[in-house]
Amino acid sequence: MIGKMEILEVNNLRKEFGTLVAVNNISLSVEKGQVWGLIGPNGAGKTTLLRMLATVLRPTSGSVQLLGFDLAKEYLKIRRHIGYLPDFFNLYNDLTLRECLEFFAKAYKVENKLIPKRVDDVLDYVELQRKRDDFIRHLSRGMVQRMGVGVLLVHDPDVFLLDEPASGLDPKARIQLRAVLKKLSGEGKTIIISSHILTELSGFCSHIALMNEGDIVLHGAVNEIQRKVFDTRKLRISVLDDCEEAIRLVEEFTKTKIETARDNEIIVEISSDESELAALNSHLVAKGIKVYSFGEEKTDLEDLFMKISNSE
């Protein structure tokens, strides 16, 4: 049974292409408003999984409930509620941006009188308003990717399925696209986004699923996984002077290990909870160390992925 807030329930989903098992009995549950990052190397099965969820590829076995609809039987209904951006796509080159959005709005049954405003809003959202009457064939790749997201926004889907949206983009275009995606996640949209470039997903994924060779190796909330994978935290302590004394004091403290110490900056591994961190801070200050910066170093998805991959 699907819970109140559960939007996607995947059970033992499998896809075989002849003798190749592309997705191997995957189970997953996604709640409304969560942003899931599907991470994994090329060939891990991310695209196959997304294509199955997007109803464009039929599973070999298993079941999927998306927004309460059975994917095997009600895939036409599901299509109204999802926005799927394929990995390699293009839009209609012979249309202008406005015409293209009007077409999709019409196809997704947006009321006629609402279409002009919706088109304007979307163009503003993806920051392509000034290009509205240009042909799509005249857009750069980065703009086409943003326009792709815009096409999905026209019908305001409940779930976004984005397959490697930033692949092949230059850094500037990538940053612009990332800004659009962050805006979406900030608005509480449910998003499943795949990438093998982890910096792309850092900062706005609430959950991740690490895929490898068709399996989900690990999945859950990013914080939980970080805690699970990294049994220690990393602290960056900056002091004004007397660094050696500070190092000695840190070493006195239980459950700590100095990783590096350079230029009055100490990186410390500590396997403690928040109260212990506070205690360490107080301990240093009490002993007269002039601490001007004390903070936990955030591990990004890249560290996480590497850590998990190495432990595999």
């Binding site: 499998r14 075989e16 292409f17 002849g18 003798t19 997007a54 109803t55 464009v56 039929r58 070999t60 076995s61 036409l76 299509r79 109204r80 999802i82 799927y84 394929p86 390699f88 796509f89 293009n90 839009l91 209609y92 080159n93 012979d94 249309l95 202008t96 015409e99 009007e102 077409f103 999709f104 019409k106 196809a107 997704y108 049954k109 096409v151």
Partner: protein, 475 residues
Amino acid sequence: MILNNPLIRRYRYSLMRPRQLWIYITIYIAVVALIVFVNYTAYQYQEWFGNQIRFFKGLYYQFLVLQVIVLCILAMINSSSAIKDEVTGKSYDFFRMLPISAGKKATGILVGKNLVVLLLAGVNFLLLIILGMLGRMEGILLAHYFLAVISAAVLANSVALLSSINPAKAKKKNNIVLFIVLGFIFAPFVISSIGIAIRRINIFENVTEKFYTIELPVLILISLVALYFSCWAIKGILRRFTREDEPLFTRMGAYIFMLGFEFVLFGLFYEFLMEGARKTNYLYWLISLLPVLLVPIWSLRSFDRYLEHSGLIQSKSAGNKNLLSAFLRYSNLLPVLVLFAIWTVVSVVTALMTRQALLYNLYYIVILFSFYLFLMLLLELYIVYNPVSDKIGLLLSFIAIVYLFLPLILSGILDNKEVYLYSLLGFSFSMFSFKPYPNISAITGIWLVNVALCIIPIILVWKRYKHILAARKKM
């Protein structure tokens, strides 16, 4: 409202821009002016037409041909390129995700992609009415012509669209092979139409043909047959747009199509079959055998479907009982047998109608079945072994070609007419010339060879079926 269709709107945006529309209109006006100029010159200076009425009538038929070119050829090219454009333009995923009905998608492409063509055809249609009136042609005849052209256009365009809905192949090549195959199946109707046209150059004025015992104007008969097959093509399009990864025909659909084809063909041949000529009977047999060969291809279940189904039947069945028989029922071999059974029943009926010796005809049917079974086993081998080697199709095609042509070549080299019979092609053509009937032992030899040839494919297919079931069990 048809123009409310989003796809028509999309094509209106891209095709009806004034800067490109004027080019089409200019070409059309130039063609029309050229036809009128050439005809008028011939009428005025060479007196080709005799009088003004015949001049306009002559023009009418030329514009009718132009209408056929516009609606059947130009439109067909447009209709068949729509999906290919989506696939090569990398927008096909967006297209297939559109939450509009399959009917709207089909209408959107057939009308939208042909907006310019329909505009020109509309103008041409008005010209045809004017020329028909000036040529003092009967209104009912004009209506028959329009019906025939429109039904031919619907058939051509729906078949063109249907054959193009194969995204995997759209990237690679055009649908020439499919067009040839489809052309082959509809050839009898086309050829008979052309035959009638040539035989009665007064064209179709007051010409009737029999369908069973009903006498119909030939244009109406052609239109009805074309519309009947259009319905199937449109049904196929709707299925392709809703269940993209399913075969074109469901099992039941394949059987109904086969029965319908036999019904139509039987109706067209009825008058001639009743004359009792043996050759007519065999001609009918061979033409009606075409869907028996082609429909299994259009209703083939893929290896992926086999995997899905084997998982399904195992999850439903408590033990191992009847798994293989359930799988066999699902396999592609079942419709192969049923379609041949339908053909056999119809063939026996025609043999009786034409007062042929039933026993000999049953022998023919058994031998034709052995040829057919071997070819269908090759097809099934392709389905089950393609995932193992994607080049298996080449090998199997080679075997099929050798099977069909080697006996013909050997027959020529050895100067032995019996060897010729060991090819399906040779045997089929020989049925017309056996006098009175061939030696039973000779044709039994053919049957035995075919049965022997079937043994290895049967073993291989069987092994593969068992492998699929075993693999599912481990999963």
